[in-house]
């Protein structure tokens, strides 16, 4: 690692589990001479390089963009989704946040709806299926009006953007004692619901998405607000109340019930 005089030595306890059937356990690793300028994932890279050189299997973890936007990285660090710093993802966490001699526990997202694949990698396709039920506007390609044909008040555009900032990482679910996906769903419902283009289908959307969320086995929201605290994009729980209001208002008419897959 680096020869930096600020370098630290750390002890890691990492969840190792070859696949869904394997019995998992925490394994201990020593991370030596870690530079404070490294990102958390770069620290893990180096631990992995050592493991490979020793002929062991490296730690499996999801990652791609390494700049906090793709939503791929997903780790519980000392019991906190994405680690100790507010409003960032694991890949943005830097080692200067830790001190020499620290022990760090690294585990996967844990939720019934996110089955484990390997080590720190989980299957988040439940989120995909929720978006597939109605996380969109039904605009066709082509044949839409000019972008400025409908003005959108700046506050609405800003609020839509606040909600749309969700990266779909699943930290909200991992942080919630009930493994609820309310923040994720509320963010999408609100992003589209506050815009005139999405409002048209608002009632059908909220019913369909909430129904799918329940079907996937996510828990209920009992107002712990852990989701907001864990969200790397600072998405607010007020979107959950907003969604609940939208759901209440969406009393379906007969034909809509069947179309949207029930209430």
């Amino acid at each position: 690692m680096s020869a930096d005089h600020n370098a630290m030595n750390l002890t890691l306890f990492v969840w190792r589990q070859k696949n869904a059937k394997d019995k998992g356990r925490l394994e201990r690793y020593e991370a030596k001479s870690v530079s404070p300028d490294m990102s958390f994932l770069e620290m893990l890279d180096i631990v992995n390089e050592d493991l490979i050189k020793q002929g062991s299997d490296p730690i499996v973890f999801d990652h791609d963009c390494r700049e906090g936007i793709c939503g791929m990285c997903s780790q519980m660090i000392n019991g906190v989704a994405h680690g100790p710093e507010a409003e960032i993802t694991v890949c943005q966490l830097h080692m200067r946040r830790f001190k020499d001699g620290d022990s760090i526990y690294i585990e996967p997202w844990r939720s019934k709806a996110f089955p484990l694949i390997s080590d720190l990698m989980v299957d988040r396709r439940a989120f995909e299926r929720i978006i597939q039920t109605y996380g969109y506007t039904s605009a066709h390609t082509g044949g839409v009006p000019d972008g400025n044909a409908t003005t959108i008040p700046k506050p609405a555009a800003e609020m839509a953007m606040d909600a749309a900032a969700c990266i779909g990482c699943g930290a909200c679910v991992a942080a919630c004692p009930n493994a609820s996906a309310m923040l994720f769903v509320a963010a999408k419902v609100s992003h589209l619901g506050v815009l005139p283009q999405g409002e048209v289908e608002g009632a059908r959307r909220v019913r369909a998405m909430v129904a799918q969320m329940d079907k996937e086995g996510f828990g209920n929201c009992t107002n712990h607000y852990e989701c907001e605290a864990a969200c790397p994009k600072g998405i607010k729980v007020t979107f959950i109340s907003r969604m609940n209001r939208e759901l209440m208002k969406s009393i379906p008419t007969g034909d809509e019930v069947s179309a949207a897959g029930g209430f």
Partner: protein
């Protein structure tokens, strides 16, 4: 061989409309009989799969991430261009066309660029209808900002997350088609080979990244939208998984690789902090709207930036390019930064950095305005560097960012292999030798929403559905080859890791085939790449086995392909005895250090045919004609 781009002739203003009318159609009842494989779900692939599914084709879409929403388009920050002329500042389709041709240093096809400019306006409308929360003014109208290489404000944006929002729009449209049953999505699948049957693209071979199985998929056409290849430099602004694999495998199956030497080094990235670095982070070019680039006039300056008086600062871009200033195009801005650092005026660790200073803008507009415009970028900068850019100037340095080169395609976005279409960053089509900011998002969505839905019909109408399915011997042959190579990688059990080799290759490429190239450095690279590649095949250590998740094996395959591709890229750079856009050959520059094109000899697209690893690739030329823009020396002074 002289290649034909099959561009429509006649007045350029009506060329695309006429071409659409001339294209064959597939009747609605027949569409579902055709299966189209779309590899990649970024802006290009996501938009294509959604639109083709909506038209009624039977679509299967693939990506290596766990969700279509995570393609690297998600990381684009700054914005997307369109010729709307909402600000009434003199923009037009012609001006966007002109700027793109000039920005590309006259190395792109006029007809393709015209079409891009023409459909740019539809893209904005489409995205608004999908609920993309673009920035708006208080009257509720769409807002614009400026980007490099343009003197009009034509860039639409959604805070600093434009790519994310556009991709979510495409991803949601795609999800709607999945729900409708027209698109089947295969995530955590990596395409490792293209299957060609009787000269036509008819399928792909993938590795299932969860089970490790090798899978075959057939289609009546294959669309590659697999992004760019600048991870050949190891460190770049691309995501860790971005690779040349899909494009390179297509090349090995007969598709031509065009202009691979055109790579873009982006001027505003966070400088490297150490050897542990795994990727570089871009700071959006939009920052150059309000940030001013400078270096100390004194060499090896060691005062803090705040202690250096105005008179001792060199705002080198404003000085050298008074009319474009800090908004000079990327290739020019990057080289200017490198020059300053080479001249010992660089700042920060190792002197590889220049300042991007916001203090003037903050005193003019207030910190809040700057926060509103770039808040997330400043935050990202602070996370990485531990510095507050509202108080001290940012430090930036150029980094590999974008590949203008890519698979050769004709005007229909079809490669020379019939049935193989290539979209987005993976093709070579519209950016010439240099891409302007905010034009890649535009191209991806143009190709996906508005080009491929028309042009693919022209091919499908000539082919019978289901001509070759996975029981065809070519599929088995491809699976066997893939399995053979994977097993070989696992069996070497050498002493160096895949990352060691990737870093080594990156070093060769950055030093010899980077921002400034010479015949000498390129020849050095051509000696060193095969040497290191040979060592890779003897001494790489890939742990684990074929079954289940094996991220080392995934990476080893990608790096193996980069090794082969790197050589072709270098050859292309060596053959192009001129400087143009992102391809700067030190031997070809004017007295004041500007790039010197050789229009007499190099006004063509260089498309390479792979002939085998130990054989010289064959160069095919597609001559470029400029009938609507006067071929002139590019000047941003």
């Amino acid at each position: 061989m002289i290649l034909d781009g099959k561009c429509p002739t006649g007045p350029i203003q009506t060329s695309w409309d006429r071409h659409c009318f001339d294209l064959k159609l597939v009747n609605p009842a027949n569409k579902r009989k055709y299966k189209v494989l779309v590899v990649g779900t970024g802006l290009a692939g996501g938009a294509a799969a959604a639109s083709l599914g909506e038209l009624g084709y039977n679509v299967e879409a693939f990506c290596y991430q766990d969700s279509a929403r995570r393609a690297h388009s998600i990381a684009a920050q700054g914005g997307i261009n369109a010729a709307k002329n909402y600000p009434n500042d003199g923009d037009s389709i012609y001006r966007l066309f002109y700027d793109t041709i000039k920005g590309g240093d006259f190395r792109a096809r006029e007809a393709d660029v015209w079409r891009l400019a023409q459909v740019s306006n539809n893209i904005i409308d489409q995205c608004v209808a999908q609920g993309v929360p673009f920035a708006r003014d208080y009257a509720g109208y769409l807002d614009n900002r400026s980007f490099g290489g343009a003197q009009v404000s034509r860039t639409f944006y959604a805070r600093g997350q434009t790519g994310q929002q556009l991709l979510l729009g495409a991803y949601q449209a795609l999800s709607r088609q999945v729900n409708a049953g027209t698109v089947k999505l295969y995530t955590r699948r990596e395409m490792l080979d293209l299957v060609v049957v009787d000269g036509e693209a008819k399928g792909i071979t993938c590795r299932n990244l969860v089970t490790g199985e090798i899978e075959s998929y057939w289609g009546d056409a294959v669309v590659l939208a697999t992004g760019g290849y600048v991870n050949v430099f190891y460190l770049s602004t691309n995501a860790m998984g971005c690779s040349v694999t899909a494009a390179w495998r297509a090349t090995k199956k007969g598709a031509y690789m065009a202009n691979p030497c055109y790579t873009q080094i982006h001027p505003t990235c966070i400088p490297q902090s150490g050897d542990h670095q795994s990727k570089l982070t871009l700071m959006s070019e939009s920052l150059r709207n309000d940030g001013r680039c400078w270096v100390p006039k004194k060499q090896s300056e060691n005062r803090k930036p705040g202690e250096i008086p105005e008179a001792e600062r060199d705002y080198y871009l404003e000085r050298k390019y008074p009319s474009f200033g800090n908004l000079a195009p990327r290739d020019i801005a990057s080289r200017a930064a490198k020059e300053q650092c080479d001249d010992n005026r660089g700042v920060g660790p190792g002197g590889r950095g220049v300042f991007l200073d916001f203090s003037d803008a903050i005193s003019r507009l207030g910190e809040d305005k700057i926060r509103e415009r770039y808040g997330n970028l400043f935050q990202m900068y602070e996370k990485i560097t531990d510095e507050n850019a509202y108080k001290v100037p940012m430090r930036i340095y150029p980094a590999p960012h974008y590949s203008m080169g890519g698979l050769w395609v004709d005007y229909n976005c079809m490669s020379n292999v019939p049935g193989l279409f290539v979209l987005g960053e993976a093709n070579f089509s519209v950016h010439g030798a240099n891409r302007l900011g905010a034009s890649a998002l535009m191209q991806g969505l143009a190709d996906g929403y508005f080009v491929i839905p028309y042009t693919i019909a022209g091919y499908l109408a000539t082919t019978k559905p289901g001509k070759a399915k996975t029981d065809h011997p070519e599929f088995k042959k491809s699976r066997d080859e893939v399995e053979g190579q994977l097993k070989k990688l696992l069996s070497i059990k050498g002493k160096k890791t895949v990352t060691d080799f990737h870093r080594g290759l990156g070093k060769i490429m950055w030093e010899n085939v980077g921002m400034a190239r010479t015949a000498e450095s390129l020849k050095t690279a051509l000696r060193e790449i095969p040497k290191l590649r040979e060592e890779f095949w003897q001494n790489v250590n890939v742990s684990g086995g074929m079954a289940g998740v094996n991220q080392q094996l995934e990476n080893a395959w990608r790096v193996a392909d980069f090794f082969e591709f790197a050589e072709l890229m270098t050859r292309d750079a060596l053959h192009r005895n001129e400087s143009c856009g992102g391809h700067f050959r030190v031997e070809y520059q004017s007295e004041d250090g500007e790039a010197m094109r050789d229009d007499q000899n190099f006004t063509y697209v260089g498309a390479w045919e792979f002939k085998g690893l130990d054989k010289e690739p064959e160069l095919h030329k597609e001559p470029l004609k400029f009938e609507n823009v006067h071929l002139a020396v590019r000047s941003y002074k």
